[in-house]
């Protein structure tokens, strides 16, 4: 069987990076939440905050482990599958990844050990300090990896000599034109994602009549945050889109399935972009909608896909549909956050079972939106690996397609298994809920017979879980 080596290498990277991004997205937000809970515990002395922090820390540990191991794979995949890219972009991208390891990974890994295993051993302020260090580490990591990714989208501060990139100005490389927008959009997305998971778990317990105090605390905290961040994300996304229009107009043209530069753009609520015919089928559109969004004028013009030859266009369907998925979830999040905040303000949130049912079942919203967003930005960059300079096909390793296909198959099997079990165990930890034993028994410390995670398993087993 013959494989297209570029396609297989891309599929493998798309698969492993999609799997990976799920976990950092969650843990970036969750670590900030845990740090907030511990800060409130230290400030108020209320036990409820400490219990919630410990409960979420257990879930964090499982998620973080999956993020770490899938991340190690990525740091080597640049060499195994994209070795030509490693050579021609290594001078620029390499140091950004290197700084991510030095400034973020060691910080996270070290203080996670203290946070996870320090309960009852160390004073509260030390747990708080560790949680802040972990949260800070995840945010620093976001900073560097998005700087690297953004440079591939909007390269700056370098020169190419003999086909290899050489750095000229590190400030310009790191703060390249799309970086501030992408960084803000992604960081906010992480906080939103974790916020919706916390909201969902709170709602799930309230519906089941369990842990009423802790659930109310979770929902209040989550909604307070989401009511601000969900609308903010719309603004950040809009700014990011305008920046993309300026630097990667074909990506935006694919997002809107906009073919002709000579006409104003409609906003297609639905359409089937036909790349052969260079037109849309079955379009349900808001006339001039895209022009209004992108140029802020009803009859404004922006570049269409026909501006460049077909081989220079991104895969329109991927970008177009992924963008719509992200957008739909984004608007759902804004509605859910604002309605929830209103219910909270009126004092009827915890009795509004219809609302609790909705949010208890939409914990996945942030994850899907993030993956869709990354499909928009990465598929939208195609056929370029470094926008406008190097094509994706120029970056692959001199390794046979069969070899890459074999390793892809192994990744699919292993990740599928690990992911399924990870979700199962996280769900089990959620089903078990926060520890309700008295503070002292819970603090445990050296010599206590069983870890609470072990209890979680035993209880789930007793219930036939």
């Amino acid at each position: 069987m013959e494989f297209d080596p570029v396609l297989i290498a891309r599929l493998q990277f798309a698969f492993t990076v999609t799997f990976h991004i799920i976990f950092p997205t969650f843990t970036i937000g969750l670590s900030a939440y845990i740090a907030t809970l511990l800060a409130m515990w230290v400030a108020t002395g209320r036990d409820r905050y400490q219990r919630l922090a410990r409960f979420w820390t257990r879930i964090f540990a499982v998620s973080f482990a999956m993020g770490v191991v899938s991340g190690i794979v990525l740091s080597y995949q640049f060499g195994t599958n994209w070795s030509r890219f490693s050579v021609f972009a290594g001078n620029v991208i390499g140091p950004l990844i290197g700084y991510e390891v030095l400034t973020a990974f060691f910080l996270e890994a070290t203080f996670l050990g203290v946070l996870l295993f320090g309960w009852g051993r160390f004073p509260p302020w030390m747990q708080l300090f560790s949680a802040i260090a972990v949260a800070l580490g995840t945010a620093i990591s976001t900073f560097w990896i998005l700087a690297a990714n953004s440079w591939m989208q909007t390269p700056a501060g370098h020169e190419f000599r003999d086909g290899i990139a050489y750095p000229l100005d590190w400030w310009a490389i790191i703060f390249n034109p799309s970086f501030p927008y992408r960084f803000a959009h992604m960081l906010n997305a992480s906080y939103l994602t974790a916020g919706f998971v916390v909201l969902a778990v709170g709602a799930r317990y309230l519906l089941a009549g369990r842990y009423p105090d802790q659930s109310r605390t979770m929902m209040r905290m989550a909604l307070g945050l989401l009511a601000l961040l969900a609308p903010l994300q719309l603004l950040l996304g809009d700014l990011h889109g305008l920046n993309t229009l300026q630097h990667q107009p074909m990506k935006v043209a694919a997002m809107e399935a906009h073919w002709d530069s000579e006409k104003p753009g409609d906003f297609h609520v639905f359409a089937w972009p036909d790349e052969e015919a260079e037109a849309n089928r079955f379009a349900i559109s808001i006339p001039n909608g895209a022009s209004l969004i992108l140029t802020h004028r009803l009859n404004g013009h922006f570049p269409g896909l026909k501006n460049v030859p077909p081989q220079d266009r991104p895969p329109v369907k991927n970008v177009f549909f992924a963008f719509r998925i992200m957008l739909a979830i984004g608007f759902f999040m804004i509605a859910a956050a604002l309605v929830g905040a209103w219910l909270l303000w009126r004092g009827i949130l915890f009795e509004a079972r219809w609302y609790l049912h909705i949010v208890a079942h939409t914990w996945w919203a942030g994850f899907v939106a993030v993956i869709a967003g990354w499909v928009v930005t990465e598929s939208g960059r195609q056929p370029w690996l470094v926008q406008g300079i190097k094509r994706t096909a120029e970056g692959i390793s001199p390794v046979s397609a069969t070899t890459v296909a074999t390793s892809l198959a192994m990744f699919v099997v292993v990740y599928g298994l690990v992911f399924a079990m990870g979700i199962y165990y996280i769900n089990r930890l959620i089903a078990k809920g926060p520890d309700t034993r008295s503070g002292e028994a819970q603090a445990g410390g050296p010599g206590s017979p069983l870890s609470s995670a072990h209890d979680a398993g035993q209880e789930a087993l007793a219930r036939g879980g």
């Binding site: 191991v69 740091s75 060499g79 001078n91 140091p95 890994a109 079990m421 603090a443 050296p446």
Partner: protein
């Protein structure tokens, strides 16, 4: 200036690899020793002894990979393409092993599967790391700066020998770690295992020391030409003394000394390999200077690395310090 930078970077990456091999070496060793106990409480103690550290230990592997890319992109590209399969196998094994740490504490019925995943993942990762080392020492075919061989060029008896050697070495580090960090029957068995493993490691070190100068002339010239032979003879002599001391410490019931003896043995073996291949990063094709990144990239990265490395080493020492002491039976760090 570029010359010096490259040499400094070779030192930094050499340090990262050495730290990785020692630190993740002992926690991979715990997984390798897993099948030799049938007792779940002992397995829990073994995992507890490394639980707060493993994540930080494995981060040195990421630094090794990223550092190689930063400072020597050409070598990174060639090595990863040439050793594609063992690298991917190692990564997959580390995935299994890494998640097993968390999963086995949450799992009940499936705990034994995660015990197996933890152990098999540790063994395969160790074996692959040794084969990567062997694949590198025996040489990689490079044309026009890119890998020019097949997918299985690395798969030689020599690579397998190195793989088994590293596996045994990690098990020795793991056993001496248990001697230091645990007590009771678990520690006593680890002490007996450590002695056997020590003999095994010496056997593999001897085989590699014989094999490499016979099979690779460049290595024979490096060690046995005069005056090198006089300068380099302390390396095997020190190795023999360290091995003897480690055995003696194990025999005399010392708790901490054997672990540091095993580390010293590793460092000497590592030094021997560096002597054999330097200045090649990808023998026999690319020297560190041929594979080097642009000086502007090396210096930008070094400017951060030099102040950050001591800080990282500082909080590493901190975490080992706060979790110092022996693990008692039934003790768990709390989640």
């Amino acid at each position: 200036m570029a010359w010096d930078l490259t040499l400094i970077w070779a030192g930094v990456i050499g340090l990262a690899v050495a730290l990785y091999v020692i630190l993740d070496g002992f926690d991979l060793g715990i997984g390798i020793l897993f099948p030799f106990t049938k007792n779940d409480s002992e397995r829990d103690q073994m995992v507890t002894s490394i639980a707060p550290f493993w994540d930080g230990n494995e981060t040195w592997l990421v630094l090794g990979g990223a550092g190689l890319w930063v400072a020597f992109p050409q070598a990174y590209a060639v090595i990863m393409s040439a050793l594609y399969l063992p690298v991917i196998m190692m990564l997959l094994a580390l995935v299994f092993r890494g998640v097993a740490f968390e999963f086995r504490t949450v799992a009940v019925i499936s705990k034994r599967y995660w015990n197996f995943a933890f152990s098999a993942g540790s063994m395969i990762a160790a074996l692959c790391q040794g084969m990567i080392l062997g694949g590198l020492i025996q040489g990689i075919k490079v044309e026009n700066g890119a890998y020019a061989g097949g997918a299985f060029d690395w798969a030689t008896p020599f690579a397998l020998l190195c793989g088994l050697g590293v596996l045994t070495g990690y098990a020795l580090l793991g056993a001496t770690w248990l001697v230091m960090k645990t007590e009771g029957p678990l520690a006593e068995r680890a002490r007996r295992q450590a002695k056997i493993l020590l003999l095994g490691v010496l056997g593999f070190m001897g085989l590699v020391s014989l094999w490499t100068p016979i099979a690779f002339e460049r290595i024979a010239v490096r060690w046995f030409s005069t005056p090198n032979i006089f300068y380099l003879s302390p390396v095997p002599i020190l190795t023999a003394l360290t091995a003897f001391a480690t055995w003696w410490w194990l025999d005399k019931g010392r708790n901490m000394a054997p672990f540091f003896g095993a580390i010293a043995l590793f460092l000497l073996g590592y030094l021997g390999l560096v002597i054999s291949v330097f200045p090649y990063l990808v023998p026999p094709s690319l020297t560190i200077w041929q594979a080097a990144a642009a000086p502007a990239s090396q210096s930008f990265m070094l400017a951060g690395t030099l102040p950050l490395l001591p800080i990282i080493l500082g909080y590493m020492v901190f975490v080992y310090w706060v979790f110092r002491g022996k693990i008692r039976e039934g003790e768990h760090y709390h989640h």
